[in-house]
Amino acid sequence: DAGVTQSPTHLIKTRGQQVTLRCSPKSGHDTVSWYQQALGQGPQFIFQYYEEEERQRGNFPDRFSGHQFPNYSSELNVNALLLGDSALYLCASSLVFRGRGYTFGSGTRLTVV
């Protein structure tokens, strides 16, 4: 049973560019959440997708956007990259009607130069 798969694993981008990160949830899960983890910090919630819609959103600017596809996979897009966007981006999948917790992927390490 495959867990959560994220791609790419590492990425280097230049300030001002745009980036797309991808996530395939664990089999049977219907909800995908994205977290940003800066170096030495705890993960911070970006947003959550369910039924192809953004269901909840954390305190992140509109430069951060996402999408969920009919097969439950998801993308995180970040526009106009800033140096401060450098972080580990984690995807977590779950079942919306609770009870089973979250499964995290291995993350995408984004470096903005």
């Binding site: 977290y35 910090q41 993960p43 269901r55 909840q56 979250y102 995290f104």
Partner: protein
């Protein structure tokens, strides 16, 4: 606003010793998680605590939850080097009874020395 505070943030232990990591959260949350993270790696789920008084144990780690005090603890018994990692607690922000999102503490970096 739900806030989660962990202490200590750094913990250096000798092998064989016991210690406790504390996790306080500011508002009602009925679901508390503990994760382990090795350097450069993702989050490994350790425990999910669902109700007041819940206690779970796995090997040398034991977690408990007191929802009245808004406190969870992670107790380490007879530490070994393999337990060296960063430990996060996270409280789930309720969302109308369905899956909410997690608010994480800053993490406790544990180093176990011989």
């Amino acid at each position: 606003e739900l806030k989660v505070e962990q202490n200590p943030l750094f913990l250096s232990m000798q092998e064989g010793k016991n210690y406790t990591i504390y996790c306080n959260y500011s508002t009602t949350s009925d679901r508390l998680y503990w994760y382990r993270q090795d350097p450069g790696k993702s989050l490994e789920s350790l425990f999910v605590l669902l109700s007041n008084g819940a206690v779970k144990q796995e090997g040398r780690l034991m977690a408990s939850l007191d929802t009245k005090a808004r406190l969870s603890t992670l107790h380490i018994t007879a530490a070994v080097h393999d337990l060296s990692a960063t430990y996060f607690c996270a409280a789930e922000l309720n969302y109308g009874g369905s899956q909410g999102n997690l608010i994480f503490g800053k993490g406790t970096k544990l180093s176990v020395k011989p």
